[in-house]
Subunit: 213 residues, 2 copies
């Protein structure tokens, strides 16, 4: 759980469906890490869910070729622009999934859930349906069939996720998306722009921005 729109809505959804949920969040040197983790902690506290934060600090030198983790500035603009490829953190989802699978197997959890969605597919190879399908197979072999991979939002757009979140009464004022990681959202980076469009498509103002006025 990053603490953004997708993973936060996913948590509400899993709780709503009656699952017993434990949250995993990762720090891997992302610039917006403090804001992201703070947001996820606030939601977990509000929903009374146990959160396990995994510090992957020791991997920082390994996964630094990205605007999210390295010295490259966070690009501005729409998610589908070529420049947004700078925000790809190579191998991130496979690493996080494999750690979550190992933990799930250890504690006897029946599945891991991830918040990939349609808006991510163009830019991020490790958010695509083909990646998720392959992850399901490798998870089955690695865990001897004991742990499933759930991605209920894989075919949803971000606007459709927000629509689902409105139904689930998600408190979006506790979420954080901006990649820059300043005190307030920059409203210019790809994830800020995408977030604004998703709330606009649902005809509501973003509660996080509303809060500031």
């Amino acid at each position: 759980m990053s603490g953004g729109v997708d993973s936060t809505t996913l948590l509400y959804r899993l709780k709503h469906e009656g699952h017993e949920v434990l949250v995993m969040s990762f720090y891997y040197g992302q610039k917006h890490g403090r804001k992201e983790l703070g947001a996820s902690q606030a939601t977990c506290k509000a929903l009374d869910v146990f959160q396990r934060i995994v510090n992957l600090d020791s991997l920082q030198g390994l996964i630094s070729n990205s605007a999210l983790t390295g010295n490259i500035p966070v690009p501005e603009g729409r998610y589908d622009a070529e420049v947004m490829k700078l925000t790809v953190v190579p191998g991130r989802n496979l690493m996080m999934a494999s750690i979550a699978l190992a933990y799930a197997e250890n504690i006897g959890a029946e599945g891991i859930a991830m918040g990939m969605h349609k808006g991510d597919h163009h830019i991020y190879p490790d958010c695509r349906p083909s990646f998720v399908a392959a992850l399901r197979v490798v998870a089955q072999h690695s865990t001897g069939g004991r742990v499933e991979v759930l991605t209920p939002y894989l075919r949803f757009s971000k606007a459709e996720i927000v629509k689902d979140g409105i139904r689930l009464k998600v408190d979006y004022s506790k979420t954080w998306s901006c990649y820059v990681g300043g005190e307030v959202p920059c409203e210019k980076c790809g994830t800020c722009v995408e977030r604004a469009e998703a709330f606009a498509a649902n005809g509501i103002e973003d509660p996080l921005l509303q809060q500031r006025r």
Copy 2:
């Protein structure tokens, strides 16, 4: 690279085949970690290969349900005995592979190589050909086809690996296998027994034990 027979022979083989090789080794709370890592360091130094040691200390609480990492004693006996299942570290190979894949993608390496072999298949789900096949597919999707997964010893027995190592002039006195992690090999745990059989099958004495006489 653990520093045992399989990964050490694999390193010699890759070097022999003319690959430019960088070694990754992992500390994940294994009891024999100090001995393993020391062995792998000695070999890397002898072969003048750069070694990157990844500390997964922060995952220790996640992957503790094993005789290799937790409070369960290391079992004695043959590898095919039911009790050896206690040495399974759930999800370990998928985690290590996914970190290696991310690093490979970042530095532009064309592949990762792993030392799985036939003797591991019965006990460890994440050493089986079906797991490796699934790993290849997920690696292809995660990296956009940029990084391959090599497992040249997948269909070899440990005796066949040692045979290959004799051809490659591997210095087995620098390797370490024992799971107990004492000053000298215990000669009773599954990996000590398997190692002894592999050298016996090739009609030579284990150089590590020979050294001590």
